[in-house]
Symmetry: C2
Subunit: 467 residues, 2 copies
C-alpha cells in the first residue's frame, strides 16, 4: 500500500487529490493546517502529517519551512499567503493587532478584531444589491465616478444628518475610499510633520498608526466613562497647543463609553478658545440604542469634522467612507483625493451601499443587531467573570467590552500566547499613548462566542476552573 490506499492516510491523500483535480485548490494555494484538517477528517494530526509528506514526495504539494504545505505549480513559486500566516515575531503594537486580525486564519477566533462576524451582516440585502447592480447601465460599471462620490449616497447621508438636527448644504459632504482614508485625507490637509495631535487614552489603535505615518507628535487625554477628562483636556490645550483632536463621541473605541452633554459643551468651548480642530469619527453611530451628544451637531460642523463609514454595520468588503466639514475644506479635500486616489470612491461600491441603505430592511437589520449585541455583551461579561476579567464600564451599545485583567497580568504576554493557539486578542497598550493600559483587553462581544477563547485565556493565566 505504497500510497496508503485503504488506510486513513490514504483517505486524507485522496481528499487532497480530489481538491486539486476539481481545482478547489490550485497551484500556490496553501493546504489546510495540520490541526484543522485533522479535525475536519476526524483523524489524528500525525495522520495528516504523513499524508502531506507523501503527497509532497509525489510532487503534488510542496512544504515551505515554517509556513505549511502548498499545492505545487507550473514553475510558479507557491504563494505565501500572509493572510494565512501573519508574522508573529513582530512587536505587539497597533500593526500587530491589525495584521493578526486582517490576515488571520479563517479558523481563528478573533475576540480582538474590530468588526462583526460575516453572518451578522445584511448579506441578503447585499446579494440583492449585487443582482440589481448587474443590470445597471454601462457607465456605472465601467467609468470613474464624480470626485465627490455617488449623489444618491450623499443625499441619504444628508437626510440622516438632518434628522439629527444637522442641516448642512450639499457642498459640505464628500465620499472617500474608507473611514480611515477620510481621516488620512484630513491629516494630510491640516497637519505638518512635527505638529501635535490629541487623541483619547485609550483610543482606537489605528489612530496611533495613522498619525505615526504623518510624523506628528501624539498626546493622549485620559478617557472617562463620560468622555475625555475635561480638566486634563483644557490643560493640554493650553500647554501643548494641539492642532487636531481625533475622537469617537458615541460608543467610544475601545471603551464603549459615551460623551456626556456637559463634557461635549466644555470640550467644544475649550477647542474654540484654542482654535483646535476636532475630527469626530462617527463610525459606531448606528449601534446606539438612542442618540447621544455629538460635537459635530453642537458645533454645526464649523471646527468639527465628521467622518464615518459603513464597514461596521453593512460591509467591510465594500469600502467607502465620508467627510462632512466646512465647504471650503471639502473643496480642498476633493483636490487631495483626486491627487492621491484619482477620483472618489468606487461607484460600484457606493451604489451597493446606497442600495442596501435605501432598501428599507436596513433599519430592521440594525434593530436586530442592537438586540443581539446586548445579549452577547451580557453573556461575554458573565463568561469572563470567573477568570477575574472585569468590564471597566458597561457600554450602552456597540460591540466592545473594555476589560481589566486581574492584578499583575500583562495583556501583551497573553495576546502572544493566545495567538499561538489561533486566538487573536487586542491587548490594552496598543490603544494607549501613555502605555498605561497593559492590564486591559478589548473584547468584541460578537466575536467572543468561541469556547476556545475562555479556555485559552484560562490556560494562559493559569486559572484552574471547576469542571
Amino acid at each position: 500500500m505504497k500510497d496508503g490506499h485503504g488506510t486513513r492516510t490514504g483517505e486524507v491523500m485522496a481528499a487532497i487529490r480530489s481538491k486539486v483535480s476539481t481545482r478547489a485548490l490550485v497551484a500556490g494555494d496553501r493546504l489546510p493546517s495540520i490541526r484543522s484538517f485533522a479535525a475536519t477528517m476526524g483523524v489524528s494530526p500525525s495522520t495528516i502529517v504523513e499524508a502531506y509528506d507523501r503527497l509532497a514526495a509525489e510532487g503534488l504539494i510542496r512544504a515551505r519551512r515554517g509556513s505549511g504545505f502548498y499545492v505545487a505549480g507550473h514553475g510558479l513559486p507557491p504563494l505565501a499567503l500572509s493572510e494565512a500566516e501573519p508574522r508573529r515575531d513582530r512587536a505587539v503594537d497597533p500593526f500587530w493587532v491589525s495584521r493578526q486580525s486582517l490576515d488571520a486564519d479563517p479558523a481563528a477566533a478573533k475576540p480582538g478584531c474590530g468588526w462583526l462576524p460575516a453572518d451578522w451582516m445584511p448579506h441578503g440585502a447585499l446579494r440583492r444589491a449585487l443582482r440589481i447592480l448587474a443590470r445597471a447601465e454601462d457607465s456605472l460599471l465601467a467609468d470613474y465616478g464624480g470626485t465627490r462620490g455617488s449623489p444618491a449616497l450623499r443625499r441619504l447621508l444628508l437626510g440622516r444628518f438632518a434628522a439629527e438636527g444637522l442641516e448642512i448644504a450639499p457642498d459640505r459632504i464628500m465620499l472617500t475610499g474608507s473611514g480611515t482614508q477620510a481621516i488620512d485625507l484630513i491629516c494630510r490637509f491640516l497637519l505638518r510633520p512635527g505638529d501635535t495631535v490629541l487623541v483619547d487614552d485609550p483610543c482606537y489603535f489605528n489612530f496611533r498608526a495613522l498619525l505615526r505615518a504623518h510624523q506628528v507628535r501624539i498626546v493622549g487625554v485620559p478617557y472617562t466613562p463620560s468622555g475625555p477628562d475635561v480638566a486634563a483636556f483644557e490643560t493640554i490645550l493650553s500647554e501643548e497647543r494641539p492642532r487636531l483632536y481625533i475622537t469617537n463621541s458615541a460608543l467610544h473605541n475601545p471603551t464603549g463609553a459615551t460623551l456626556s452633554p456637559q463634557a461635549a459643551y466644555r470640550v467644544l468651548n475649550a477647542a474654540s478658545a484654542h482654535d483646535l480642530t476636532i475630527v469626530e469619527d462617527d463610525i459606531f453611530a448606528d449601534f446606539e440604542p438612542e442618540p447621544s451628544p455629538r460635537l459635530a451637531v453642537l458645533d454645526g460642523l464649523d471646527r468639527v469634522i465628521r467622518i464615518g463609514s459603513f464597514s461596521k454595520t453593512l460591509s467591510a468588503s465594500i469600502r467607502c467612507g465620508y467627510i462632512a466639514a466646512r465647504a471650503d475644506w471639502i473643496e480642498c479635500l476633493v483636490d487631495l483625493q483626486v491627487a492621491t486616489s484619482f477620483g472618489g470612491p468606487s461607484p460600484v461600491a457606493t451604489q451597493l451601499i446606497a442600495g442596501v441603505l435605501a432598501g428599507g430592511g436596513y433599519r430592521k437589520h440594525m434593530e436586530e443587531l442592537r438586540q443581539r449585541l446586548a445579549r452577547a455583551r451580557h453573556e461575554v461579561a458573565i463568561r469572563l467573570e470567573p477568570l477575574g476579567i472585569q468590564p471597566w464600564h458597561m457600554p450602552r451599545g456597540g460591540f466592545y467590552l473594555w476589560c481589566r485583567l486581574p492584578e499583575g497580568r500583562d495583556s501583551a504576554a497573553l495576546a502572544r500566547a493566545a495567538v499561538e493557539e489561533n486566538v487573536v486578542l487586542a491587548p490594552g497598550n496598543v490603544f494607549s499613548v501613555s502605555q498605561t493600559a497593559g492590564s486591559f483587553l478589548r473584547f468584541n462581544v460578537a466575536q467572543s462566542g468561541d469556547p476556545r477563547i475562555i479556555s485559552v485565556l484560562g490556560r494562559a493565566m493559569g486559572v484552574h476552573r471547576a469542571a
Copy 2:
C-alpha cells in the same frame, strides 16, 4: 391654458412632472440643461426656459443662480452636484483637467479624458462577474480582506509577470486601492518633503498633482519618441540627485511613445550609479500590440517598482491597483496601507476583477480594443489634419495622440473656450513641468468621435472650413 396644457411648453412640463412622479428625478436632482433638453424634446431653448420657470413657480423645481434647476425637496437643500457643475474659473492646472473630466456633464464630449468610453469596456463580463459574486460566501461580501489583497488576483498577476520573464516570489506583490494609491503609498514610504523627484516632460498630469501633495521638488526630463532624453537624464541625476523617477515605459502618457532597449539600458545604469529608485507605471501594458522593454523586467524589481491597475482596460468603477517591488519594501508598504486605509483593497472589487481576468474573454476583449483603437487613432489624425493639428508621433498602441497646434495657438485658452461648449480638452501645459507644452493637446482617440469636437476646435481657432 395656465399650465401650458396642449402646448409645447406643456409637453415639456408634463415630461418633467412624469420624471418626478416616477422618481426618475428626486429631490435635489439637477434637471437636464436647457440646451440638452431642448434637443431631446425637439423644441427651442426658450420653450424649455418657459417650462422650467413655470414649474419653479409651482414649487416643483427650484432655480439656483448660475447652476440650473433642481427638483425641490423636503426641507433639504438641493444637492449642488459638482460632477454636473465643475467650477470653471479655476486655473488650468492638473486639477482642472481631472475635475472637468471626472465631474463632466454626461452629455459632454471628453477628448481630454484618460479613459475609454463605458461601452468599450467588457460590460458583459462585468455583469457576469457581479451575478457570480451575488452567490459568493458571506465572508467575501462582508469582511475586510487580507492586507495584501485577493490571493487569486495576485496569482493571476504573478502568472502574467512570469510570462514576461519576470519570475518573482509571492511576497513581492500587494494589491492597493488604485494605481494612483499605489504610487501615493510608495511616495509616502520613500519621500520626505523637500526631496527631488524626476518625471518625464511631458508626463501624466496627475503625477504632478500627487507630488505636489508630497511637497517635493519636481524636475522634468525631456521626453523623446524613444524614452527620456538619456544624456539629459544622466546630467540631471548628477546635478539634482533625485530620489525617485516616475515614468511609463510603454505607451507613455501623454505621448504614446515607447522606451527603446538602448534607452532602457542607459536609464537603468544611470539609476544604479546614482542610487535612484524608479516607479514604472505599467497601466497601459495590455494595450501594446507587442511587448516592449520594461525597466522592471530588466532590473528584476531591485531598484524598479512596478505599479499598475485595471482602470483602463476593465473598469474604472471597480478600483484596484498593485505594487510589485522588493519584499522588504512590500512589507513596509503593507503596514502603510493598513495605517492609512485599514486593510487592502475591497475584496468585492478584487473578486470582480479576478473574475473578469480569469474569464477567458479578456484576451479577446483586448484584441478587439487594440484593433478598434488603431482605427480610431488613424481617423482622429485625419480629422485633425485640416485644422493644422499634427501628431508629434504616431503611437504603436493605446488611446492617446499627443498633438501640436498650429503656430501661435495656446492650448489652455482653447480648453477654456471649449469647456464652455461642453467639450473637455487636455491642454499641454498641465503635462509639463517646464511649462513648455502650451501648444500641445492630448487627444483620447476613443473619446474623439463626437463631431462637436472638430467644430468647437475649428471655431475656437477661427478656422473656416469648406462646407
